[in-house]
C-alpha cells in the first residue's frame, strides 16, 4: 500500500505572536516552528498501516525552505521518503494554493491513501485535505478516529461527529482522510531513525504557476483578538492571589458559598 501524508510546519505552541510591518502576517523570523500536531497523528497512522499492510509512506509538504525540518523529522520517525514543494511564498498561502501545489506534486505517484491532519494550528482552515480530494478526484472522509483496510481495496473508517457521536463509513480506495488528534499514541524519533533519515530522499518539486494562481482569499488585517469580556487580573503571590480569587468568587460573583 502506497500512503502519502501531507504535513504542515506551524509555529510552536509557546510562540508569542509578532506581526509584520504591514500587519497582514506574522514576523516569521521571530517564530519557532514544529510539525502541525494533527499531521503528526496522520503520520503515525500511516506508519501503523504500513506495519500492518506493508508498502511505503511518503511525506509531502508545500512550504518555504524551513519546512525541510519537519520533513526530516517525519523521515526520522519512519517515513520512507519525502516530497517538498518549495517556494518562499507558500508560508501564508491559502488552502487552494496548498492543495493545488500538493496535487501537482502527487499527480504521478498513484497513492492508494492520502492522510493529513483535520486542520492546521496556524491558519486553521480545515479545508486542504478535502480540496485535495476533489482536485485528485478521490473519495474522502474527515475527522477520522480509526482506519481499517478491508479486503485490500476498501476502507472502513470511524468519523467523529459532534458531541460524542461517531459513525463508521465504508469507501473504496484510492481515498483521502483527514485525521483527528488522539487517534493513536505518537512515537518519537529514535537515534537510529535520525541517523537513517539523513540518507533518505527529499524530492524537491517546483511550484506550478497554476497553483499560485489558485489563491482565492487575502488577509487584509491581522491583530490580537478583541476581548469578549473585561477580565479582572489578579496579581500577588500565589497565596495572596488565591485568597483574593476566593473572596471575589464569594462576594462579587457569588458562585461559591
Amino acid at each position: 500500500m502506497k500512503i502519502a501524508v501531507c504535513i504542515k510546519q506551524v509555529p510552536t505552541r509557546d510562540w508569542q505572536p509578532r506581526l509584520n510591518e504591514a500587519k497582514t502576517w506574522i514576523r516569521e523570523q521571530d517564530a519557532t516552528f514544529e510539525m502541525n500536531e494533527p499531521d503528526a497523528y496522520a503520520l503515525e497512522e500511516a506508519l501503523r498501516l504500513r506495519e500492518k499492510q506493508s508498502g511505503e509512506v511518503v511525506v509531502c509538504s508545500a512550504g518555504p525552505a524551513r519546512v525541510a525540518q519537519v520533513l526530516r523529522e517525519a523521515l526520522a520517525r519512519g517515513a520512507d521518503r519525502a516530497i517538498h514543494v518549495e517556494d518562499e511564498g507558500l508560508g501564508n498561502a491559502d488552502a487552494f494554493v496548498i492543495a493545488s501545489a500538493l496535487a501537482a506534486a502527487m499527480q504521478d505517484e498513484q497513492f492508494d491513501l492520502i492522510l493529513t491532519g483535520l486542520q492546521s494550528d496556524d491558519q486553521g482552515f480545515a479545508q486542504t485535505g478535502v480540496i485535495l480530494a476533489e482536485r485528485l478526484n478521490r473519495s474522502h472522509a474527515t475527522i477520522i478516529m480509526d482506519v481499517q483496510v478491508t479486503g485490500g481495496q476498501t476502507l472502513h473508517v470511524k468519523r467523529e461527529l459532534e458531541g460524542g457521536w461517531f459513525q463508521w463509513v465504508d469507501m473504496p480506495m484510492p481515498a483521502v482522510l483527514t485525521i483527528q488528534s488522539g487517534i493513536n499514541q505518537l512515537r518519537y524519533a529514535t537515534l537510529k531513525g535520525i541517523m537513517a533519515a539523513k540518507k533518505k530522499e527529499i524530492r524537491k518539486s517546483p511550484l506550478p504557476s497554476a497553483a499560485t494562481a489558485a489563491t482565492k482569499s487575502r488577509i487584509v488585517a491581522l491583530y490580537p483578538p478583541e476581548k469578549a469580556k473585561k477580565t479582572h487580573m489578579i496579581s500577588g503571590s500565589p497565596a495572596e492571589a488565591a485568597r483574593e480569587l476566593v473572596r471575589r468568587l464569594r462576594d462579587d460573583a457569588r458562585v461559591i458559598s
Partner: protein, 325 residues
C-alpha cells in the same frame, strides 16, 4: 441573493442553522440589504421547512431526494452544485459544523470558488466585505477578503451568532421545492448509523461548578492537584481534548466541540490555552476563571477573573484558601 444552507439529520433541524441565518442577516445588512434564501436538502423536510419559514427571508427552498439520505459528501456536493447553479447566489452561508467541514470545501473546489471558514463576524472594509476569523489557535484574529467570481462560501463559527437573534418575518416565507440531479450510484461513501461510544455516565451540562484541566497540567500524576481543588469547590472535574486523548481523564469528561457543551455557574480553567474548539464548549459559562502561565493565552479573552502564574503553586494555594476560610 445570500443563500443559507441549513443542516438537518433525520428531518430534525440543527440549531446552528438559525445561527447561520442570523449571521446571513448581518452580512445582508453589510452589503446593502440583499435578500436571503434558505436551502435544506435531504428527505422528509416539510416540517423543518415550515419551521424555517418563520425567519425574515425571501424564501425557503427544499431539495428532497432519496440519494441524500443519509448524508454523504459526494451526494451533498452533487446536489448543491446543481442547486447553486439554479439559484445563482452571490454568497453561500453555512454553519461551521463537522458536516459542513466534510463537504463545503469540496463543493467550493468543485465550483472553483473562494471559501472562508470559521468566521465570527462580518465588516465592511472600503468597498469590500471582510470576514473576521481566528488564526493561530485564537492567538490572532484576521480580516479576510474572498476573491474571484461569486458565489463566495462562508462558514460561521458555532456560537458566533445567536439563534434567537435571527429576525423573524411578518408572515411565513414561501416554501419552494427544487429538483436536482444526483446519481445515487456515483456516491462512493457508504455510511452506517451514528452511535455514541458509551452512555455518558457524567453529565457535565448539569454541573454547577467545573474545574477543567488542559495541557498545562503537564503529567497525569498532577491530576490529583486539580481533583483536590474540585473537591474543595464542590465541582466536577473536566478537561480539554489533549488530556482525554492522552487517557489522563476519560473521554466523557471532555469539554469542547467534540465533547460536552457546558454552561455552569463557575468554570475554572487550569492550564487551558483556549483553542476555539474548547471555547465553543464553555464560553456560555456564567463566571469563568483562567489560571495560565501565558498572559497572551486566548482563554483570558473569555475569562472574568485571571491569574497569570504557575498553576502548581496557585492551585494548592487555592485549595488551601477554600478549606481555610
Amino acid at each position: 441573493m445570500i443563500l443559507v444552507i441549513g443542516e438537518q439529520r433525520g428531518g430534525k433541524l440543527n440549531r446552528a442553522t438559525w445561527e447561520a441565518v442570523a449571521g446571513a442577516q448581518q452580512l445582508a445588512a453589510a452589503v446593502g440589504n440583499q435578500p436571503i434564501s434558505v436551502l435544506v436538502i435531504g428527505t422528509g423536510l416539510a416540517e423543518l421547512a415550515a419551521e424555517l419559514a418563520a425567519a425574515a427571508v425571501q424564501e425557503v427552498v427544499t431539495v428532497e431526494d432519496a440519494a441524500l439520505e443519509p448524508y454523504t459528501p459526494d451526494g451533498y456536493t452533487a446536489a448543491l452544485q446543481d442547486a447553486i447553479a439554479q439559484l445563482s447566489p452571490s454568497t453561500v452561508v453555512l454553519p461551521h459544523t463537522y458536516q459542513t467541514r466534510d463537504f463545503a470545501p469540496k463543493l467550493a473546489a468543485r465550483l472553483d470558488r473562494a471559501i472562508v471558514t470559521d468566521v465570527t463576524g462580518v465588516k465592511a472594509v472600503g468597498s469590500e466585505v471582510a470576514f473576521v476569523r481566528p488564526m493561530f489557535q485564537g492567538k490572532l484574529t484576521a480580516d479576510v477578503v474572498a476573491e474571484g467570481p461569486a458565489p463566495h462560501f462562508v462558514t460561521f463559527q458555532i456560537g458566533a451568532f445567536r439563534a434567537d437573534q435571527a429576525a423573524r418575518g411578518n408572515g411565513p416565507a414561501p416554501v419552494r421545492a427544487l429538483t436536482v440531479a444526483v446519481q445515487g450510484q456515483a456516491i462512493r461513501q457508504k455510511p452506517e448509523a451514528p452511535f455514541q461510544e458509551a452512555r455518558q455516565a457524567v453529565d457535565l451540562s448539569q454541573a454547577e461548578r467545573i474545574v477543567s484541566v488542559g495541557r498545562g497540567i503537564k503529567e497525569q500524576s498532577n491530576i490529583p492537584l486539580a481533583q483536590a481543588l474540585a473537591e474543595a469547590l464542590g465541582a466536577e472535574l473536566a478537561a480539554s481534548r489533549p488530556i482525554c486523548d492522552a487517557g489522563w481523564l476519560p473521554m466523557e469528561r471532555q469539554v469542547g466541540s467534540s465533547g460536552q457543551t457546558v454552561a455552569p455557574k463557575l468554570y475554572l480553567a487550569l492550564g487551558i490555552s483556549g483553542a476555539i474548539q474548547h471555547l465553543v464548549g464553555m464560553k456560555g459559562s456564567n463566571t469563568i476563571v483562567a489560571i495560565n502561565k501565558d498572559p497572551d493565552a486566548p482563554i483570558f479573552e473569555v475569562a472574568d477573573y485571571g491569574i497569570v502564574g504557575d498553576l502548581f503553586e496557585i492551585v494548592p494555594a487555592l485549595t488551601a484558601a477554600l478549606k481555610g476560610t
